[in-house]
Amino acid sequence: MPGPAMFRRRSGTAPHATGAATLQADQGAWLLSAAALTLAPHLLTLPLWVSALSVLLLGWRASLLWQGRRTPNTYLIVLIAIGAGIGVRVAFGHFFGKDPGLAFLALLLGLKLLETSTMRDIRAVILLCFFLQLGVFFDNQSLPVAALTLGASLLSIGALLSLSDPAAGTRERLRTSALLLAQGLPFMLMLFVLFPRIEGPLWGLPADAHSGMSGLSDTMAPGSISNLSLSEAIAFRAEFSGTPPRPAQRYWRGPVLSEFDGSTWRAARQFEGERAPYAPSGPRFEYRITLEAHNQRWLLALDYPADAPEGVRYTTTFQALSTQPLRSRTRLDLVAYPETVVGLDETAPVLDAALRLPPDSNPRTRALARELAAGSASPAHTLARTLDRMRAIDLTYTLRPPLTGGNGVDAFLFETRRGFCEHFASAFVFMMRAAGVPARVVTGYQGGEINPVDGSMIVRQSDAHAWAEVWLPQRGWIRIDPTALAAPGRIESGLAGALPAGEALPLFMRPQFSWLRDLRFRWEAVSNSWNQWVLGYNSERQREFLSRLGLGELGWSTWIGILGVAAASLMGLLFAWALRQAQASDPLDRAWANFSARLARHGLSRHPAEGPLDYGRRLAQALPGHAAEITDITTRYANLRYRPPATPEAVRELKRRIRTLKLT
């Protein structure tokens, strides 16, 4: 029957509304771009083969759509899916977890797209997109990823719109989608500010959530720090409330290493306490440190920490520790006294440990140390002579030291004479111990550059450093940085100033790329604000903020109540706004709506298509006792509404009469 079909077409019914329709080219374009943008931030974290396969599947679907060809055989898709599952299981070693889960979902998105032709499939794909958009934040919460994901959400909503309104143009859809997102903004802000923040790790996050964080470790072997130095990643930021300390004082203390087995240094035994094991003195530096997650407890405080907030523990090796490993970016207010004298009354076991050396290792160094000690009047004299001697050896500071064999210290001092800070520190401590002076290796970060854009100090992984501490009677532990012997610039101006010319520097450190550095400073300032204000809004800051609002110290039930009330009132406001948009804000309309609302309570609501006089007649019949008043009101309204102009006085009079109408 051609007739009815033609009429149906003319009356504008969407051809897809029946559900049996196939994917239109325009919808497909929306869907594919939403999926592509959703996958984009995942590609960085997914295994290479998963990323490649996802891109391939997406490209395949796009080419099929472009050529108007049919989707591939279902068996083929199922086969690929099974293969993908096995691949994920093999690549990750397990299947249930955040990373394998996301990888498998990313593959499924591509596969689902390949079999997508019906409405139901399209909706499933969009749902999958939303899920993956959420999932990306497990790995990365940075500003660019958030922006990219926002774009992906925008396109996904656009794809949904393309299903409901196939006739709309691209710009219209984008606008509607943006409007929908904007309408969700108040809810997002409210939930962000008010939703209870969870202290500690997220519930049920799989164990692999915190793997792959880089940073210092509690051991040091040749090469461990020089590898770290190649990384431009930020280790932490510090914002000083006054002038920052001089570069030579910027020693951020990490693990203190005291045990040496000939090749690897390990952490000394240490004890924790609530109080610092020294009396802080000298100039005071207050700063706020924002540490990137490194999955360890150390806080990398500037030497020597004191007056720290509650929850910070001090070790007998002058480190500051947090009670829990830092699994997320952490912010703390700390104080440093760099000129404090520490370790005056060091215990005998610690000093004994600081003299221990593996037997029979590095004989040449031992001989040299003994020779130096023999001619010295005091440990301080031995120290001075050792430093002089090391300076005289003419060691070279390099990022790429040659490999050494079993007696690494001997090889460094007498053969290769090329090394990175860990070689210097290791050799120096070895010599001091061999000479009978207690000494140990300290790892951490040294330096830090001020971001000219926002004035904060940035310390990168490339600032990782190892230095030495020597114990002298009546002077306690003294910091000695043997690297400065060969490369004094390392301390004053960082890695770039210390390396000999011609040594390959990380890209950003090269002087000819100063504009790139400048750009990076700007970007890091922006992303620092993002970290501070968005990601740094933790349970503590939430409490702080709410107590400033007078809402602090509330129980959970009150909390949920507040959240519920806030959500409800926000909904109410939006609803009222929408209602106001729907109804003109004309006082006459409001009066009339009020009148019919009052009568609706008596079961006499006005039918939308009912004119005022008809309504009045019906009311008068139903309520004979009020016939005169009702007819008066409806006639007045009809006159005011359809016989312009309506004077404000007349409208007020109508309102008065509606108000005074007493229905029994």
């Binding site: 009815p4 149906r8 009356s11 504008g12 004119g611 005022p612 008809d614 359809y642 016989r643 312009p644």
Partner: protein, 305 residues
């Protein structure tokens, strides 16, 4: 007092046509809105009487044309005949040159003849032998039509139906009215005795007054919403034309005038809508004329703004 003329006229008419007050008011609205009226119903329910009564009461020059299958256009418009005395052609004006014409059983004539009358209705003038002759004012056509299922009829095409402002049905009288009809005098005699109660000029005055009635923006919105609803509805094939919209508003104005108001209400529009839209709309699917219930559904679907 245009409204009083209307009341007088309706009162007098309802003395003769019993129990048909609403239909009489509709017919008068059509007259005041300067539109032509189509009455569609079974024979014998008083279509002719209605036309006759209206003509009589307003004092209009009345002509009745009985449409048959052999009626020719010249039988309506007139014919030029050779006058021997003056040796020239003289135009013998046909029955169309009257103020109120009853075109009885218009669907019995051939389309060609039908269109002769319908063109006259639209143009309000006749062109014959190269000369243009204006038709009298007021000029009002009441056409009657038997339901087109009857044998030997030529249903009016859509374009011709559009020239009628309104279509009404009379229907059977109720029991009381029929009893009074059966017991009373013959209608024909009553009509012959009836004197005009208003003058043709009064009718023209009413027409002008109706055109001057206030129409609020909100009412225009409502009319537009109605028109849009006919165009968007799945129930109908195509919607009402702008001409139909103009007609709807004119008819609503006339109705409001008779109701004694100086402004038009949505109720007026709703009252006229089935009569203005009924013969212009076609059901989607089989293309038949919509039942009154379909038009009512449409009215119910458009909120009064």
């Amino acid at each position: 007092m245009p409204q009083r003329h209307a009341t007088t006229l309706l009162e007098a008419a309802s003395q003769i046509i019993l129990g048909k007050e609403h239909e009489l008011q509709l017919a008068l609205s059509c007259l005041i809105a300067r539109g032509h009226l189509l009455i569609e119903d079974m024979p014998g329910v008083g279509k002719t009487t209605l036309a006759h009564v209206l003509a009589r009461l307003v004092g209009l020059h009345f002509q009745r044309i009985q449409f048959t299958s052999d009626l020719l256009p010249a039988d309506i418009v007139g014919v030029s005949v050779f006058d021997r005395a003056t040796s020239s052609f003289r135009f013998n004006a046909g029955p169309v040159f009257a103020q109120l014409i009853l075109a009885d059983e218009i669907n019995r004539a051939t389309p060609k003849t039908q269109s002769a009358l319908l063109e006259a209705m639209e143009e309000r003038q006749i062109t014959a032998d190269g000369a243009t002759l204006p038709l009298p004012d007021p000029f009002f056509v009441i056409a009657t039509q038997n339901p087109s299922t009857q044998i030997g009829t030529f249903p009016l095409p859509e374009s011709q139906l559009d020239r009628f402002l309104m279509r009404i049905r009379l229907g059977y009288p109720d029991r009381a009215a029929e009893r009074a009809l059966l017991m009373g005098e013959a209608r024909r005699e009553l009509i012959e005795r009836q004197q005009p109660v208003i003058a043709p000029d009064d009718l023209i005055e009413m027409q002008h007054a109706a055109q001057a009635l206030q129409v609020a923006d909100r009412l225009i919105d409502y009319v537009q919403n109605l028109l849009a609803a006919t165009r968007q509805s799945d129930e109908f094939a195509g919607g009402l034309s702008p001409r139909a919209g103009l007609g709807l508003l004119a008819a609503a104005r006339a109705w409001a005038l008779i109701e004694g108001r100086d402004h038009v209400l949505p109720e007026d529009v709703q009252c006229m809508f089935p009569h203005v839209a009924g013969h212009r709309l076609h059901l989607a699917g089989d293309g038949r004329a919509p039942a009154p219930a379909a038009l009512d559904r449409l009215l119910q679907s458009v909120p009064v703004s």
